[in-house]
Subunit: 153 residues, 2 copies
DNA sequence: TATTGTTATACTCTATAACTATA
DNA sequence: TATAGTTATAGAGTATAACAATA
């Protein structure tokens, strides 16, 4: 025992009981599953995130999207390259400012995103299978509050 | 609209509303915060995870720990190296089987883990600040159930 | 021969910096 | 000169494969 005051030493009431630890590990496992699910579509989570962002806002420049997703502009290039190669997004030079590449989600892109969403819902079902209806509602609200607390949109 | 049946196109009722997406992003943000918090202790999340595992089981060989944490044995070497350098763990050759390196958490290690736990609790408080007591209890139970569903201990 | 730990190597992800073209 | 996008380069993190010691 290296701690004279009331704080727990080691893991008696431990690290593994914190929300931070449990949310972090669970999030990692869940993301890992999702990653494997979308692999067959030739996608990685960031590609899906980009499509979701485009789905919300219809069109946006690469810089705007990079800022919104919190990634470097150079990464946005390769994400857009890949999605363009799949026919999921279209790049159009803004005629007003020919430096800007404006991205839009194509019909194929909407379709792909829809399939990803469907896969996520399947995983959702497995994940919440043991929860009551009340618990699911509570989860929804709790996630909303914590996301706000964590500075997420 | 590229989908004739009932499924949503794009993100109408979308990907960003799934538990998978929300849990994944929230977990990533939270882990990121924790990572920055423990930086000043010279630790990364995996180091803390290893210490937590040792705290639960007192002693274990590197192979056992690698298997438990789901990492490669080679990574366990560098994690143990680092923690040994900090004086947080001790490596002792098992006299019964001199191939095995048995790891134990030192007093210093318990102390370090305690500080990490305390940091996690501080983050916990910020995270759940907007939740009622009922919601916190529900969160605890819901996390337990989903962790089980996700194959976590 | 099989296993534990280690070292060497390679791969993935992503950021920073240098560069091009527009403004 | 400043900015959007691109390309080149580098670093972090981690796995796989080769190796040494021990069983």
């Amino acid at each position: 025992m290296s701690d004279v005051n009331g704080a727990a030493d080691g893991d008696s009431a431990g690290l593994t009981s914190t929300v931070v630890f449990r949310l972090g590990t669970l999030g990692a496992v869940v993301t890992d599953r999702f990653t494997r699910a979308i692999e067959e579509l030739g996608l990685k989570p960031k590609h899906v995130g980009l499509m979701a962002a485009l789905s919300r806002d219809a069109v946006a420049s690469q810089q705007e999207l990079a800022a919104r997703m919190g990634v470097a502009p150079s990464l946005m290039v390769s994400l857009a390259d890949h999605l363009e190669g799949l026919g999921a997004v279209q790049r159009v030079r803004d005629p007003q400012d020919r430096r800007r590449q404006v991205l839009t989600l194509t019909e194929e892109g909407h379709d792909l995103l829809g399939r990803c969403t469907s896969m996520a819902r399947t995983l959702d079902d497995e994940l919440v299978a043991g929860l009551t209806e009340d618990q699911r509602k509570s989860l929804d609200e709790v996630l909303r509050v914590m996301a706000g607390r964590a500075g997420l949109p």
